[in-house]
Symmetry: C2
Subunit: 319 residues, 2 copies
């Protein structure tokens, strides 16, 4: 059984780490503000997969104290990636792999710069989960992880297959893919559209999908991300467009992670989710006017909000 | 001296009507909620052109009571245009002209349907003015009116020249044009961009112009409106693009009328300012993805806001 480190034990990292720990893995969790609470009260996960309460958690406040692990899962917000050189040093000291479960495009680059491309994997989580209090996560829907080697042409590696099988054994639907780029663009069809519009239109996903205008607006963005992917050489099946819309319509009413960040005065992951894909599309000769406009609107909102409101340390969410 | 009716005596109609009255014209003002206040306290205009306080105002609460006038100025929000058949009947009973000073494209159509195209003129006001209290207007910058016949190919009519000269004599910069469509598209370069973005980015014009992202965003919209006009056969000088941006940068910090409507829970003029130009551009074969996206974002915001918040009767503004 491999030993895991969780860098960023919030709505996403806390959930998967807790499942692995409950399945018998040695899991080391890095916390920030919740550290003391988790030391005293453990880590509580209310989940559609069944509730968990880990009483004896290997919790750390400082990554330097973490032991070398076989797999280090990066589950921070990308806005914290400048801390990665310091955070990855301890847990990756033994030569283990890094699995980057962050939203956006090419978000593995920061981790790869620390440990090298050959030791880096990346993946997308299709997950509705919120942190509802210190050391307390509420996982409300979905949860699948699709991940693979960051290095293209690496195929499905043995280590990816092994991580997938350990996650599966822990009750997590995890799929090792040989096409991480396709996985990332496929998820961006949702993230660009619904993270962006939920902030700019000040609406939850169900409010967006509840009227003709929100649906047309969403569809035009889903389509443009699909076309941007194609321009970048990533061919996603045409019916993914309709599926993305239908799937969102059927979702539990949900505040996207970006909307929660915005409402709570935290920096938004604008560069990872919008800036990187936009630059990739434009470098491939595709204009992407709608993505560009949403990107710039979010940059304005992010900067005005950060200028006028102090960061709050309350709730958090992932997807 | 011609007799004027003002339909909608807010930040715009109240200002111009008061100037005409102070210059000796017989002016009849239609009020809604401010009627009683104006009957008792008159109409107060604090203005960069000099302050006015009209004590004896021909104020009406019901348009049917208004006498026939030579010129009826429509200065309502376009969201109230469904009331026009009732509001225009009295003041236009003698066969006078209607001058539509509303924002947007083809906003004269509703008035023309009541009195006929041949009796309709339209114009744009380049104006920063706010209603700051009942019967109290604060005119903070600009104020030029450019107007002309609604019927194309009518040239500068005698009646347009006469209205311009009377406005000029009242201290209002007014220019009669033979190209109303060009005037409207030229103003839309500002209105679409800054009305729309100020709502969606929750920012005043100076906040929008204060950073690189807001400026790029604004510029991309100004450019697209310029191109949409060209597609509709309206050729605006290229340097109007830079002028629009520079002019906005130098403006007094200003909340657009649409932002004030939005913040106060009033319906926004989305169809007049966005829907009509968008449909005109698309009918001419021009995609206008940015205008379309802003239009749909505003439709979503307008509908969610109207669903969740009662209309407030407080301040109002024009431009």
């Amino acid at each position: 059984m491999q030993r895991y480190a969780i860098i960023g034990s919030g709505a996403l990292g806390g959930l998967y780490g807790a499942r692995l720990a409950a399945a018998g893995h040695e899991v080391h969790f890095l916390f920030r503000s919740d550290y003391q609470h988790v030391r005293q009260h453990g880590l509580k996960v209310d989940s559609v997969w069944g509730d968990l309460h880990l009483h004896d958690v290997n919790a750390y406040q400082c990554a330097d104290d973490m032991p070398p692990c076989d797999v280090t899962i990066v589950a921070l917000k990308t806005t914290q990636n400048h801390h990665l050189p310091k955070l990855l040093a301890g847990p990756t000291a033994g030569g283990g792999a890094v699995l980057v479960l962050q939203n956006g495009l090419d978000v593995e680059a920061d981790s790869a710069q620390v440990v090298g491309v050959q030791r880096t994997l990346g993946g997308c989580c299709f997950l509705c989960s919120n942190k509802v209090g210190p050391g307390h996560i509420k996982h409300i829907d979905y949860g699948r992880i699709v991940f693979g080697e960051y290095s293209p042409q690496a195929g499905v590696s043995d280590r990816a297959a092994r991580i997938a099988s350990e996650l599966n054994a822990a009750g997590v639907e995890a799929i090792a893919t040989d096409d991480l780029l396709l996985t990332r663009w496929r998820k961006l069809m949702w993230n660009i559209t619904f993270n962006g519009l939920s902030v700019v239109c000040d609406a939850s996903t169900d409010q967006l999908m509840d009227g003709r205008w929100g649906e047309q607006l969403s569809l035009s963005l889903v389509r443009e991300v699909h076309a941007a992917a194609a321009a970048c050489g990533v061919s996603i099946a045409e019916d993914a467009i309709g599926t993305t819309i239908e799937h969102t319509r059927k979702m539990v009413p949900y505040d996207s992670s970006m909307r929660l960040d915005f409402l709570n005065g935290r920096p938004m992951e604008v560069e990872a989710i919008f800036g990187n894909p936009l630059r990739a599309a434009q470098a491939a000769g595709f204009d992407a006017p709608r993505i560009e406009m949403l990107y710039r609107q979010l940059k304005v909102l992010d900067q005005l909000r950060r200028g006028s409101q102090a960061a709050s340390a309350s709730s958090s969410a992932a997807t």
